[in-house]
């Protein structure tokens, strides 16, 4: 027990570890905030820098980057409507309208505090339930992943505001983009129009930078001479009353975040989506209608994506299974340092587990510190005149895209997606659902075919399995409920009832 305690406090007492965690968190915020620079990328580059270090030092830096990066994505989402990371896509729904109303300082302050609360709850859950949750995550069959992806797509398309048909079209378009390239099972080219260039698929970061970065730059040209909203940055630290008001919601969404984060392959992006939908359903009187600057719509995804960090560590530390892309990289780091990520890790080297738990808590405290102090510089970004900002956004998009694969072709694609995104935005389509479709589409295809193969390609057995397995049954029921709640069926029924 005393051993556990000393492992927990290791990062807090060693000045070097303290410094590295702080540095990682600060760097992570900026990495996460800049579209095109991903936490995954930063972490994988860091592996090479840190391989000669002591394992604890390397892990401390990476934990910091991870925690800071997941949070950082929300800043540009709020200030510019450009999510710095996929997990902040949902944050922009309500965060950007808040900034437009001149409440960016307040929004960032609240999102910081809530991210920290989410992160700490995630860490607590990680410490308390790691082995249990990891067992639960294993129970998910391909069929269940398929259902979760369906649920994700359904939520995305219903979240897209103006019309359901447009939302569904956007999601399907995204999924088609995600499927371009060689089939996983047969290596057959799909949707490539015979082009060799497209055989490897379209990298989703290219689509993301194009649709969010370049398209936004084009779109903002319409109000080039509009003087940016003067951001209220004096009130950064949110009043305690405000924090307490949203605390019950943030606890609920944190728990959603941890659970989704613990599922292998699903990280903060899907967690924030679920949390947002949860908030939309349960909060009866939001501060403003959702999508127009509701603080609830900011709190939910921000707590969930940071709580998902703790969740993603659960299967990684107990089973050696990555919960998301960043933990996959950290697994690589453990292997390099001579550790065996797997079921034996917690038994043979418990200090790694407890050290990570303590370190995550520490990184969250640094997040609070840097999140509440660095905002002024950040908010200035919005006050830069559009004439300067827009060309710079395009340059950042080019750098971000090129740095993925050093491939100019992908930069051209990025610009193409930017122009496509511009027209879609003009005619009332949202770009968020497209990018989530790009991520979820291939997952859906893969798990659907795994599920079908598992039942010997029998359609009826597949449908039967959806209702006979308890876990699948629950998921199927949720999907049916969402469908009933969101499709025109409900208003249509209501009208009928009223008429009689």
């Amino acid at each position: 027990m005393s051993d556990t305690f000393s492992y927990l406090l290791m990062a807090w007492l060693d000045p070097q570890l303290l410094l590295l965690t702080a540095l990682g968190t600060l760097a992570g915020i900026y990495v996460g905030a800049i579209p095109g620079l991903s936490v995954t990328m930063a972490a994988s580059i860091l592996i090479s820098f840190t391989f000669s270090w002591d394992i604890n030092n390397a892990l401390a830096l990476m934990v910091g980057i991870y925690v800071g990066g997941v949070y950082g994505g929300s800043r540009t989402a709020i200030l510019l409507n450009i999510p710095g990371a996929p997990s902040a896509v949902v944050t922009a729904f309500d965060g950007y309208p808040l900034a437009q109303r001149g409440e960016a300082g307040q929004a960032i302050g609240l999102s910081t505090v809530m991210s920290v609360i989410g992160g700490l709850i995630g860490t607590l859950v990680l410490a308390g339930s790691a082995p249990y949750l990891a067992d639960m995550a294993l129970e998910f069959a391909p069929r269940d992943y398929f259902l979760i992806a369906i649920l994700g797509l359904l939520l995305v398309s219903t979240l897209s505001g103006k019309s359901l048909a447009r939302g569904i079209f956007s999601v399907a378009l995204g999924a088609i983009i995600g499927l371009v390239g060689m089939d996983m099972v047969t290596a057959q080219p799909r949707m490539t129009l015979g082009s060799m260039e497209l055989l490897g698929g379209i990298h989703y970061v290219v689509v993301m930078i194009g649709l969010f970065g370049a398209a936004e730059a084009f779109y903002q040209l319409h109000n080039l001479n509009v003087v940016p909203v003067k951001q209220k940055v004096d009130k950064i630290i949110p009043p305690l009353k405000m924090v307490l008001k949203y605390l019950p919601l943030s606890v609920r969404t944190s728990i959603i975040g941890v659970i989704v984060g613990a599922l292998p392959g699903t990280g903060g992006d899907i967690a924030s989506l679920f949390a947002y939908d949860h908030a939309k359903r349960t909060v009866k009187n939001p501060s403003k209608p959702f999508g127009e600057g509701a603080y609830e719509g900011l709190v939910a995804p921000e707590t969930a994506n940071n709580a998902a960090v703790g969740g993603a560590y659960v299967p990684m530390l107990t089973l050696g299974m990555p919960g998301d892309a960043v933990t996959a990289v950290i697994i690589g780091a453990l292997v390099i340092h001579g550790l065996n990520p797997g079921p034996m890790l917690m038994i043979e080297t418990p200090h790694i587990f407890w050290f990570t738990v303590g370190n995550l808590a520490l990184a969250n405290l640094f997040l609070l510190l840097f999140g509440l102090t660095g905002i002024k510089i950040f908010t200035k970004v919005v006050e830069v005149p559009k004439a300067v900002l827009i060309p710079l956004i395009l340059v950042l998009c080019v750098v971000g895209t090129y740095s993925i694969n050093s491939n100019m072709m992908e930069v051209y694609w990025m610009l193409g997606f930017g122009i496509l995104g511009y027209w879609l935005k003009v005619f009332g389509f949202q770009t968020g659902p497209i990018i989530l479709g790009v991520i979820l589409g291939p997952l859906l295809d893969k798990t659907y075919r795994q599920a079908m193969s598992s039942v010997g390609d029998s359609g009826s057995d597949f449908l039967l399995a959806l209702v006979t397995n308890p876990l699948s049954l629950v998921l199927t029921a949720v999907i049916v409920l969402v469908l009933l709640g969101q499709t025109p069926v409900k208003p249509w029924l209501m009208r009928r009832i009223r008429r009689h």
Binding site: I45, S52, V335, G342, S454
Partner: protein
């Protein structure tokens, strides 16, 4: 008015940028390393443990990216399509040698330059810990009584599981449902959850899980019991005839574009030879249940040719119908 300043500045920046490229020697920037299988699998583990040693020797950063899918075709295709400047490496497994045979692609490792054949591993047929089968013989018996019922984890046409299945089918009969995953890592996750009934895996990926009791070893693909997995019977116990294909196992290697500059090829070959020979990596491989080969140049080519001919003809004898081309048509000599 501003024109002269402008031009001068532009020229200065341009000159600075060019000076950087002209003077430096390979490697003067980060190298991209593409792993053709998913995170957590054997190829991934080998690549990620070896790379830091190489980075140290070359004094540069190798950014590793997993590009799984299509039995590794996607990752290999990606590397082959990059500029042949020596800055794109492929970390691959054995599969590309079978691409033309399976009709997956028309290229093999012959179309790339082998930097190093790092090592080779053994294969174990694993099942979930609570499986009803205790040996491969029991599994075979059940499968023959209920054809097309058992779910085998696979990694796509031409992947290790499908190759092992072909070998089994060459000497006996095993009819199963093939559930495809992005690599042995995701396959193991599915197995731990009981979503597949068995999966042939490299010992490197499965050894730890079997020793800790999370999975069960039904057979090792050898003719004798091995030290790393005591108590797991050799496959010859259930299928004596399969011995003609043994010893057989997956291997891992590093490859670079055929047209990469000679200087880069040489620098890489030296660096990888030194890194693979390092004691630390040797310990890792031993721990991992794999054997270090450290072959390059002529030796590596010979190893590849030999592996290809043994495996291709085994698969041809197993079931010629699943192949898109015969080894003969492809000019692969008989072993």
């Amino acid at each position: 008015m501003f024109q002269p300043t402008f031009t001068r500045l532009a020229l200065a920046i341009g000159a600075a940028a060019m000076a950087g490229t002209a003077l430096a020697e390979y490697p003067e920037r980060n190298i991209q390393g593409t792993i053709q299988w998913g995170a957590g699998g054997a190829t991934d583990n080998v690549a990620r443990s070896l790379t830091p040693h190489v980075e140290d020797i070359l004094d540069t950063t190798i950014i590793l990216t997993n590009r799984p899918g299509g039995t590794g075709v996607i990752g290999m295709n990606h590397v082959m399509r990059q500029r042949p400047d020596g800055y794109n490496l492929l970390y691959g497994a054995e599969n590309p040698l079978l691409y033309p045979l399976m009709g997956l692609a028309d290229f093999t490792y012959d179309d790339m330059h082998s930097v190093n054949i790092i090592g080779q591993g053994l294969v174990v047929i694993a099942a979930p810990a609570d499986s009803q089968f205790d040996s491969f013989a029991e599994l075979l018996e059940h499968a023959q009584a209920n054809p097309g019922e058992l779910r085998m984890g696979g990694t796509g046409a031409g992947g290790l599981p499908s190759t092992v299945l072909a070998m089994v089918n060459a000497v006996d009969e095993l009819d199963v449902r093939n559930v495809t995953f992005g690599g042995d890592g995701p396959g193991i996750t599915a197995m731990l959850g009981g979503h597949i009934d068995f999966m042939p895996l490299s010992l490197a990926a499965a050894g730890e899980q079997i020793r800790s009791g999370k999975m069960k070893g039904l057979a090792v693909l050898t003719s004798e019991e091995i030290e790393a997995l005591p108590g797991v019977p050799p496959i010859t116990q259930a299928l004596p005839d399969i011995e003609s294909f043994l010893p057989w196992g997956p291997f891992w290697g590093v490859f670079v574009h055929q047209d990469a500059p000679e200087e880069a090829k040489k620098v890489l070959a030296d660096a990888y030879e030194q890194a693979v020979a390092s004691e630390e990596f040797g310990d890792f491989m031993e721990n991992f249940g794999a054997e270090v080969l450290n072959l390059h140049g002529e030796e590596a080519e010979q190893y590849l040719d030999n592996w290809q001919s043994v495996t291709a003809w085994a698969m041809y004898e197993a079931d010629a119908e699943i192949l898109e081309a015969t080894p003969e048509e492809l000019g692969i000599p008989r072993p």
